[in-house]
Amino acid sequence: MTTGLATASVRARPSAFAGTFAALVFCATVVTASVAIAVSASGLPTSPEQQTVYEMGLVFSLVTVYMSIFVIGQVMALAVSQRGRESALLRAVGAGPWQIRRMVATEALWTALLALPVGYGLGALVALGWFAALEGNGMTPDGMALHIGLGPLFAALGVLVVSSQLGGIIASFRASRTRPAAALSTTRVPGGERAGRVRGVAALVFVAGAVAVTVATAAQPAEDAGDTIPIVLLAYLIAAGLAGPWIGRLATLLAAPVLRAAGGVAGELAVAGSRARARRLSAAITPMAMVTAFALAKFVSLAGSSEVDAVEIFGTLLYAGFAGLVAANTLVMLTLERLREFSLLRTIGAEKRQITRVVLAESGITALAGVGTGTVIGCAVMAPVGTKVGTPLSGLPVWAWAATLGAGALLVWAASAAPLGRMFRVRPIDGVTRRSA
């Protein structure tokens, strides 16, 4: 029965399923690649090269595992809350909260098991490229061969299953507390729920924790400090994820005068929409903050280093690419869920380009919030720690700042507008009655 519900739920919302699936594949890919490098270097006789490659693989593995847990938790929360109506309907016809939770858990498990082989395969390819880059630069210790094997598979399996189950449980706990009648109402704003006090307190706790770790890191010897940068970034990102609704509201407040004055009706709709959907905005802010913060931190390190090797560049690409794909994936999920709203607007006479303008104006707010938060986090970490490890913030040239921020904004715009073409092919009157593209 429960498996039946899970299957039906996937069928009803293929786009939400695809979003979760894609995020899990990305996570399995990066975990497989970094664990494979670490494992391949671990069995060799100790040498300076072996130590370098092994430690690098280990740091990358740890960070990608943490990033994956964070990303999967976020995506599961979004996927579950996008399904609020279906869950509410099931509750209304008599499903208990535990049945909803089991439905979510079953779906998460199957999605993880389907994503695993795809991610493992892609991860093996990434590891091959990575290893080739190491070898090409003469960085591989003598006798090192890339051995992918089952270790990375089990690591990825563990990360995917555990974090998707945990993320699902937390998200469906929230969903099962919603009154069915409220969630079924057609006037409900997706993501319009008020953020709770617990969330606010937790955000403050994580900010305090992140600051403490930053101070501790800055006090460490320079070599160790560099390795902990990603962990400090993640602590800040969790704080940003929790504070998302408030960050979104602040960004809307800042952007509102400009959009209202220059954006016409599209600007007004964008401001009203962003203000009412602060929680959804939060789902877009975190991955954007992640890609911006990681890119900035890495670029600052690269700009400050005397010799930039292929490994560093490869690692930067891996982090930024992973975070960028996750962010794009989330933004696409967020646009797709608005088929009904856009169809209603078209029915009463909004042209396609007017709706495109609304989406672009809203993306401006999302970019301001996400890229802005990422920049603040990047600076908060690299200002004290970067100076310590010899790569100060000031080392990054202006053009690199502009390129990073510009690329971030472009990513938000492109990903948010990407599904519009497909959504516009749905007849407006059909879209008003359907729930997803």
Partner: protein, 229 residues
Amino acid sequence: MEAILELDRVSRFYGRGRGTVHALRDLDARLYAHSLTAVMGPSGSGKSTFLQCAAGLDRPSSGTVRLGGQEISAMGERQLTRLRRARIGFVFQSFNLLPTLTAQENVLLPLRLDGKPRDPARARRMLARVGLDGRADARPGELSGGQQQRVAIARALITEPDVVFADEPTGALDADTAAGVLGLLRESVTAYGATVVVVTHDAAVAARADRVLRLAEGRLVYDTVGAAA
């Protein structure tokens, strides 16, 4: 009487070959200005397709639709979009309003989409006319189902459209609330000269309409003048 909406030999079918579904078959109809017309019929009779073709939401497979003498069945999508926001009003059974906007902003939306300046006073007057004086700043979530339908009617009327199309506007309401909404549609015809076409199952709507069209299997099978209130 002046025909505001003319349908000539309108057919609409979906699919092709043996699986073709004929939603409308060679339908002729003339609807007159300043009147309330009820379109009735069982599920699958073509009521909704009739509304979509007449309102510029869908194009007939053959035949012509004229609104105010202008052929709309040959218009491109962008032209139809502009036509809908300037000359047609819509009221649906549910999900009529953008939940993120206030009642007043929802009412002004067709004007704003048409590039007209913001005119809150006009929206407030219209809201007062539909009995929602003082609720201009409420969001749909803070309004009852009947009040939401009233906002939708205010939005449909604000552009002074040629025709207001309502698809089961009372379908989701209890009898008393439905009577209020129906009274409002009736009043907009009688007192303000609007033209309203209501697609409905509700016999109470038909009883207060100036005219009832009944469809079955895509054809007009019955056309009468009801007892106008």
